[in-house]
């Protein structure tokens, strides 16, 4: 149905969007970049910074893009990244 779609949907504010809080344990990272490569929303990127082991850990470029799929947590060989859902009851 190729109809022009341009408006913000009327229910945009009612749709529950999970807000993520991404935690990276920098010094556990060995710079394999799996989390960066496999993130479906391109939330992460390699940082300039060096960690204790001499690797570049990832940094978060846009936390709001994260949809909490948790794939980074699952794929990280070093248990160096995890995501929790923010409690937005009192606003985020």
């Amino acid at each position: 149905m190729p109809v022009r779609i341009w408006r913000e949907p009327l229910d945009a504010d009612k749709i529950k969007v999970s807000k993520a809080e991404i935690h990276i344990l920098k010094d556990q990272c060995k710079g394999c970049d799996f989390c960066i490569e496999f993130c479906p929303k391109q939330v992460l990127e390699t940082s300039e910074e060096l960690n204790i082991k001499g690797f570049h850990p990832p940094i978060v470029i846009d936390e709001s893009r994260c949809v909490l799929c948790d794939f980074c947590t699952a794929i990280c060989p070093d248990f160096a990244i995890f995501v929790i859902e923010k409690d937005c009851k009192e606003g985020c």
Binding site: M1, P2, V3, R4, I5, W6, R7, P9, L10, D11, A12, I15, K16, V17, S18, F38, P40, K41, V67, L68, C69, F71
Partner: protein, 809 residues
């Protein structure tokens, strides 16, 4: 062409004793008004082989037909020529008359002196009569060389394919299935239902749209004879009437039939996008069902949106949420090969995008919405729960303005009327009045077209309810920045005064337009389209649901804009037409297919290379060329390509066409234009010019071939050798050829001829090529006017030169 062949054709004489009867029809005053029919009949009597020639008031009437039947017996006629209307109209009628009298129907010939003569030369009786005589001369010359032919019969597969699952497709599928035929109903979207499913109420009865559609959808979904293929697209169609082979790609849903549509998967899905069904007014998730009544009632995963790309399962939330384990990311697209006998095209239409009309401010002003958005807003199941709300502040507006003809009846959109918008607006205005009676409603219109059953009553009711109808569309819509209200400024043409009206919301009554990708279906099924872009029917009055291609039928908005009732009517008609074919179980194929003249054939394979249907088996080693008759379309491009005259196109033989050229150039050749027109587009275009009474010069003589691909270079050369001033080769537009792509060969051949003429230092403007479709009568008329100038500029010397040069070959 060699000299020897030319002489042969010039002296081509029929082998048996030919007895021709000629009947010149007055068609009331349609022909007799500008042609002296009596004189034409007298003239015809002087032509070779003509044993009887009569003029008659209405030849197609029963007494007229009886006259021919009794003459065939009395005068022992073995050929009949009727000079009347287009063969596209009455050839079948007169062929039947011949058959009734025991004459093979291929021994009948028609001279088109109405569409191609009297109607296009209304004011020049002398020249029109002269032309009519020429046309009869051509028809008689051809008739003398006609041969009896036997038609083959082909079995019809008793299964149907319906393309498009809107209300028209559903109705056609149900009717066919109820008749007892197996139906494949193919729908591109995840659910059937189409546009009608999006509407709130229907006019003029104000029935709830989905309430009357949903039962039909469910019926189609569970009918034992209907195989529902949603989320599927037709990729290829081969074959011919009765024996189509279609390839359909069934795209994966990634949700199996185990799905109970419980919806547990939806809240866990973390991606969202505007919902197409609600025209973007609400959101949906990556896993979704298009609307609650969807058939099949199975969820679907939008892989474009889903986090899981290709082979990596990144997110498994829906998989975990589904108790029935109905989610399967491993599903792959399937290609189904279907064998069907008939096809119903019900692919529907798109809506006009009003953003291009900047003066209305759509996409700039939030409170300007389209009628389709309105349908979703007023629908209780829609994004606002049935409240019409202003998108800017979600308030219910107190004044509403409808603007009609947005994208219709205007050069800035489409020229045609979209047929449904007037009544849709009237219905919408009544719906607003029903819910919020205090609302002030303005309707800005050009004309209110309330032509159908019950329509006028509804219009009256709206007026009675206080809806204000103002004639004259706003020239501009301006937004008040603060309140987001709209000012509509324009002229009330009935009262001849300017208006400046404030409304809290404006609804653009958008028109219907052909599907943007209509060209795909058109190419797959070798259909034609009218100037408007909708699919063309075989005859606008008498075969309104048949496509020009045999075995294919049209239903719904794919054919033209229409409302639900008309779509359903047409769908039932299409189903009935398809059933007629399938009930018979067999179809006869016109005997216009080629025959091989083996002694001339050198097994070069050129014919096989140009055949659009791959209907020629060519085996160099076995020295074998063979035609597959059932697959052949009869375009004749093989015969035009053959350099050795080894292919005889039945009913359109070289000899017959040469005889027509001979007859057309017998008198005043140096003033004449010989035009070769293909049966489906250009000849029909010339008919259309006639029906529309478009006037053009009288010196053109049209020769009909099935396809422009039949026009061999030798025909053109021969016309010049006979001294014709100009030649027009005309066919369907490139890409629209009725014979898939045979007109590419036409283009190649004409280009070659132009080069040759240049080489021979002949004026190559004398050969013109023009693509004219069946609705482009004016294009044909203006082409002939344009060529008239060329004819005037051709010197006697040039004609002599071309006579000599072309004769040499």
């Amino acid at each position: 062409m060699t000299k020897v062949q030319l002489q042969e054709t010039e002296h081509a004489t029929p082998t048996e004793s030919i007895r021709i009867g000629v009947y010149v029809c007055h068609c009331g005053l349609n022909i007799a008004g500008s042609v002296d029919c009596e004189a034409v009949a007298k003239f015809a009597a002087t032509l070779p082989y003509v044993v009887v020639s009569k003029d008659y008031r209405y030849t197609c009437s029963e007494p007229g037909q009886e006259l021919i039947r009794s003459d065939i017996k009395e005068y022992k006629l073995n050929r009949v020529v009727v000079a009347s209307c287009s063969p596209r109209l009455h050839e079948p009628t007169f062929r039947r008359v011949c058959e009734d009298a025991g004459l093979n129907k291929y021994l009948f010939e028609m001279a088109n002196i109405r569409e191609h003569c009297s109607w296009v030369h209304l004011h020049d009786r002398e020249s029109a009569t002269e032309k009519a005589e020429d046309l009869v001369r051509m028809a008689v010359a051809r008739a003398a060389l006609l041969e009896p032919e036997e038609e083959n019969t082909v079995p019809i597969t008793r299964k149907a394919l319906v393309i498009g699952g809107g209300v028209a497709g559903i109705q056609a599928a149900l009717d066919l299935a109820d008749t007892g035929y197996h139906v494949y109903l193919v729908e591109r979207d995840p659910s059937i239902g189409g546009r009608m499913a999006q509407l709130d109420k229907t006019f003029p009865t104000m029935d709830c749209s989905i309430c009357i559609l949903a039962p039909k959808m469910a019926d189609a979904g569970r009918h034992p004879n209907i195989e529902l293929l949603t989320n599927s697209e037709v990729q290829e169609v081969k074959g011919y009437i009765g024996n189509f082979k279609a390839k359909v790609m069934k795209k994966p849903r990634y949700v199996t039939d185990e799905c109970t549509a419980c919806g547990d998967c939806v809240p866990v899905c973390s991606v969202t996008v505007p919902n197409e069904f609600d025209v973007g007014l609400s959101t949906r998730h990556g896993i979704y069902i298009p609307f609650p009544q969807a058939v099949p009632s199975t969820y679907i995963i939008d892989r474009e949106l889903c986090l899981n790309k290709e082979n990596i399962i990144v997110c498994d939330k829906c998989i975990k949420a589904c108790e029935r384990q109905a989610i399967d990311f491993e599903m792959k697209p399937e290609i189904l090969e279907l064998e069907v006998g008939t096809i119903v095209v019900a692919t529907g239409a798109d809506v006009f995008d009003p953003a291009s009309l900047v003066e209305y401010g759509y996409t700039k002003f939030p409170n300007v919405i389209t009628s389709l958005e309105f349908e979703r807003l007023i629908n209780a199941g829609g994004p606002s729960g049935g409240h019409i709300i202003r998108p800017s502040d979600m308030k219910i507006p107190e004044t509403v303005a409808f603007i009609q003809c947005v994208g219709s009846r205007s050069e800035r959109g489409h020229l045609y009327c979209s047929n449904v918008c007037c009544m849709n607006t009237i219905k919408d205005s009544l719906l607003i009045k029903e819910h919020w009676p205090e609302t002030k409603i303005y309707v800005f219109y050009l004309d209110i077209r309330a032509y159908g059953k019950g329509f006028e009553d509804l219009y009256k009711r709206a007026k009675k309810e206080g809806v204000l109808f103002i004639r004259g569309l706003p020239a501009e819509v301006i937004e008040d920045r603060k309140t987001r209200n709209l000012w509509l400024i324009g002229e009330n043409t009935l009262q001849q005064e300017l208006y400046r009206i404030n409304a809290e919301m404006a609804i653009l009554s958008i028109g219907i337009e052909p599907r943007k990708d209509s060209a795909v279906i058109q190419r797959l099924l070798t259909l034609s389209r009218t100037q408007d872009g909708f699919f063309m029917e075989a005859h606008p009055k008498l075969r309104p649901v048949d496509a020009p291609t045999g075995g294919i039928f049209l239903a719904g908005c794919a054919e033209s804009p229409k409302d639900i009732k008309d779509s359903v009517t047409q769908a039932s008609a299409a189903a009935a037409r398809a059933s007629i074919l399938m009930a018979k179980g067999k179809v006869t194929v016109e005997a216009i297919t080629p025959r091989l003249i083996e002694e001339n054939c050198t097994v070069c394979g050129l014919c096989a290379r140009v055949c659009p249907y791959n209907a020629i088996i060519f085996d160099k080693e076995a020295k074998r060329v063979e035609f597959i008759e059932a697959a052949c379309g009869g375009c004749g491009t093989c015969a035009a390509e053959c350099p050795f005259d080894a292919i005889k196109m039945r009913h359109f033989t070289d000899e017959q066409i040469f005889a027509q050229i001979d007859a057309a150039t017998q008198l005043d050749a140096e003033k004449k234009i010989i035009a070769f027109c293909c049966n489906w587009c250009s000849y029909a275009g010339a008919d259309f010019a006639g029906v529309s009474r478009m006037q053009y010069p009288t010196n053109v003589r049209i020769i009909r071939t099935m396809c422009s691909g039949r026009v061999a270079p030798k025909f053109v050369e021969y016309a010049f050798a006979r001294g014709a001033a100009a030649v027009l080769v005309s066919g369907c537009h490139i890409g629209d050829c009725h014979y898939i792509n045979a007109n590419y060969q036409t283009l190649k051949r004409v280009e070659k001829l132009w080069k040759k003429m240049e080489r021979l230092e002949l004026n190559k403007d004398r050969l013109q090529l023009e693509w004219i479709n069946a609705s482009e009568g004016e294009r044909l008329a203006s082409k002939i006017r344009e060529m008239q100038a060329i004819v005037g500029s051709v010197s006697a010397e040039e004609i002599e030169n071309s006579k000599k040069m072309m004769r040499k070959g």
